[in-house]
Symmetry: C2
Subunit: 93 residues, 2 copies
């Protein structure tokens, strides 16, 4: 499998699960991998990006963009707003 752009949705599993998912996508040829998370998993997404960038693929990938935003979740009348993050890691030229 080869893909130009990969993505990892970070949830409640341990950080290393998501680190490996991202590293595998780069090793399969992805030029970019988006690390996405919502709510309290946002801290973990930053950990994932930092570990990939500074340990597993040191000098090979860099953070190319970071975006934050908000999303409404829950049923009508019980809606909550939660924050989101998207960190794009990109293979260096």
């Amino acid at each position: 499998m080869s893909l130009a752009e990969g993505s990892v949705l970070v949830g409640n599993k341990s950080v290393m699960n998501y680190v490996l998912a991202a590293v595998i996508q780069f090793n399969q040829g992805a030029k970019k991998v988006s690390i996405k998370a919502r709510g309290r998993a946002i801290s973990r997404a930053v950990d994932v990006a930092e570990i990939v960038r500074s340990r597993f693929l040191k000098d090979e990938v860099d953070v190319s963009s970071i975006k934050i935003g908000s999303e409404k979740v829950g049923e009508a009348g019980k809606e909550r707003t939660i924050s989101t993050i998207e960190i794009v890691l990109e293979r260096k030229k």
Copy 2:
């Protein structure tokens, strides 16, 4: 008091404490306010930035940059690496 550049270090208090700290700094004349956090407070820092930007100072401030990084904490031999974030909010021209 007037300052060109303010800063808010997000810790374990409730989100609204930090939101108000940032809003006050803008109201005192700050052109930029940096929202900084480490470790698990990173998710809260994103909440702070989103709430200031989309509710309290809607159409007045925007995210001008987001940086992530790592820091070593703890004594020698017991060092841990934790992630950091710095979100800069800037008053629109």
